[in-house]
Amino acid sequence: MDISQSGTRQTIITLGLLSGALILFTGAVGMIAAFHEREVVNDFITLGQLVLLITPVIFGYTAANRLGMTGEAPMVVLGGGVIIGLLTTLPTTIMLLFNSDEFRFLLDWSLRLAPFVVATAIAWRMRRQRAETLTVVGSWLLVTALLGIVTFSLALIFEVKGDLRSVLVNINRDWVDVVTFDNRRELLQGILIFSLASVLAGFLGSLCYYLPRTPRRALFYGLSVTLLVGAFGETVRLVLQENLERDTLNQLFRRDTLRQNAALGLLIVSTVVGYLWAAFGDRARHGFQNLGGQERRTTQMIGTALFVALLLMLPWLIGRTLSDVAVTIGLFVLMGLGLNIAIGLAGLLDLGYVTNYAVGAYILAVMTSIGPLGLMKGSFSFWMVIPIALLAAMFAGFIFAVPVLRMRGDYLAIATLGFGEIIGKLAISDWLKPLIGGAQGVQAIPKPIFLGTELKNPEQLYYIVLVACLVTLFVSIRLNNSRTGRQWMAIREDEDVATAMGIDTARAKLLAFTLSAATGGVAGAIFAAKVGSVFPNSFTVFISINVLSLIIVGGIASNPGIVVGAVVLIGLPELLREFSDFRFLLYGALLIMMMINRPQGLIPTKIVSHEIRAGVKAKAAAGD
């Protein structure tokens, strides 16, 4: 039970400081204060407080897990949780003190002393590793000088500016209020409360380690469900609103916030369900696997049928707003399936996919608009223009592919990126303004009319997108298993050898670009009809980036992966609208974490997952 043992100590300190850094970071970028605005459970806890408290719980549990594995005594493990709780508050506390008027002198002093302290620490460590005296002195001077420059500059900035807040805009009163639990005036008292709460949270986290597996999992399910429902209250309410009476809904939710009773009920129910699942879930899964061939097939068929039914009924289950999100997701699935032909199958890194989207959208816009820019003055319907948009996008794909056929890898990437930019700039230009409206875009695009019904709601547009996706999926599967698909794969694997096999690579690549462009055009056309107006600023490089990212995140060359990727990267940010200020921050963090922990994507194809995992391991071993 020696907590000073170096490995143990290091685990605890690292995790504690990591947790503290996370809390300070979320505070400094304004997340904590912004999340504080959103209550998870009415009059009980806000999202900001939740972040503050759940972080030490998670880190406390992680540490306990690691320490427990190495066979540390319970006292050490629980003590670790406490220390982590305390360390979690440390960076934030320091920042609070720096920010307060009474303790600002601490900031000045730290900035003055920091270079010497850090340099001395480094030098001391070098000395212990028996470095030469000259090297040690040299390093000390260098570190002092470099750090000195930074801290001197910082000191100057804060001196002139007067306080932290004029630089770090989110180290403000709101933040102080949240982290001190509304004790801004009594800062020390606030810090004490914060520390105690955090210590308790860290302790509870490490205590969880000692719960038996089943109740622990049950509790985990229960808490996650409740907190997620609370955090995504708006979305959940939107779904429930479709299916529940308003009075009932009002008993569960106060606007977007779970009421206390409802939260408690949900917690109990989900914990019980979680308990049952944790206790008997394995057996059920096992039972399914042990089913006879016939029974199993039947079960699977029922499953498929239910899935199809779900796809068909989706808009009516989730309501208008989420259908709108579903349509957007669908459009990106459509583009993902298209771009996958170029990237996943033929290995052509196309960063200018937005080109096709723009072409499709503008074609539909000028062909069907009833405004001044409409070419046909409304005589062409949506359905007539869809094939035209498709062909136009294919043509554009073809034209843009020709000059880049000989380019490879990153050169291809930057050239296609350039085409995307060119299209964007042309769309906005005064030059083409008489045709496509320039900055003012094209308005008055009528909605599609199907059997006399105007399809103006997302629930209705959903079916158009669904059909387009299914057709594309079918085509893409057919192509994948064909001669053409093999040609593409060969080019992806090794272009030189593919040529040596007698493949006309230029032609195959042209085909890949052209076919890949087709769905982009259709997606663009549907998009234009959906929004009802087309502006050039909708066609930025972010579209290309999004489509590329969703393919990679889903799992390259994997069709189900594309759907999942689109849901995660396009759908989640839409649902995260309530955290809109931090949408891209979280999106970026998600991308990074995904790629580090699951580079093969969420639903990888078998080959790719094997290759990437093996590749990472082997090359990590080789240090390449």
Binding site: L238, E245, G371, I428, D430, Q440, Q443, K456, R577
Partner: protein, 420 residues
Amino acid sequence: MKKTIASLLLLSLLSLLLNPVSAQDACSDQLGCVILAEDEPIAIGAMLVLSGAVTYLGDDSLGGVELAIMDRGGELLGREIELVVEDSLCSAEGGQAAAQRLSADPTIVGAIGTNCSSAAQGAMPIISDAGMVMIAPSNTSPSLTNEDVASGGSHLPGYFRTSHNGLVEGMRNAEFAIQVLGTRTLATVHDGDPYTEGLARVVADTFAELGGEVVFEGAVNKGDTDMASILTEIAVYQPDIAYVPLFEPEVNFFAAQMKHIAGLEDTVIIGGGAAFVAGFPENTGEAAIGIFVSGPLVTGEAYEQLLLRWEEEYGSSPPSGYHAHAYDATNLLLSAVEAVAAPTDDGGLVIGRQAIRDAIAATENYPGLTGNLTCQDVSPFAGDCAPGTALAMFEITEAEVYDDNWPPPVFWSFSENLSE
């Protein structure tokens, strides 16, 4: 997994069948009503740009909205005011998604937004269809208040704005250049934003109509830092006026780099409302002195108060020039709700949607920060509430550049001009 889906499906099916249509007894409004129970707050929406390159516009408006609510103590008719904020981005699809979300909530009475005209194009049909209202604090596109589709209009009922119609602002700006400054030649520059492009076009047209000569019409891109190229081109014509309704930072770059270009020594810059920002003079530096900026003639006392409150609340000055419009828009909406809300016997509240529209449309001489607001209902100004008379030209002086003075002194205002 599949089983969960199946049970979910069944549950939802059941609930669909059991869902009765609730009768809205107390409501006689043709568009339906917002019916609030006893403890429900009054919810208003906001569709603002909260991410992307022009986030500061959204931050600016959001501050205005929040301050307006705070100034009422956060309450209306004894109920809490709840602000539901959605990110409308600066695009049609973003506006559409935000509107879709707000319109799904039957308790929201109306929305403030959007910032960008393109977002408004996406949001307007949804909002209008849902029987709601939207009051935009910074839309300027003329088409938004024009009802004639064939000429490019897209106005739909339920759309209002407290910002100036580009047509009005542009005409005023051109008149100022010709009639007040007495200039003859004009160059315009926009940045591909519908707002700046629209203004530049109106100014050029009006300038020509009034007998001036438009010698150059050009454009830069958002994100450009190098203006030497276009300035050189403009220098060829040595115009009296460069009308530059650009946003920060392009407008700063333009102004600051102009002094390096031979031939433009005597050219005067007129900036649009986008440059009517506290940071503009300081960020531009010396080169900003002598630039004219068009902006709302904010009534001194109340506006000063707002700026103080802003400083107190957010620790800085507003990042853009539309917060006062947002403030007014919010008050317009809240006042309308206040006027038409009817209490029910059980302590609830009924607010007719058409009634709100009517109430806002009937606004006349509403004393706002940006002047006395009167909402018009005739195309091409349908839904325009901004007081065209309260537009002014401000001249940037040394005080703004070096001493943090804001707003700059009024050089000329339309209302004064009228009275003269």
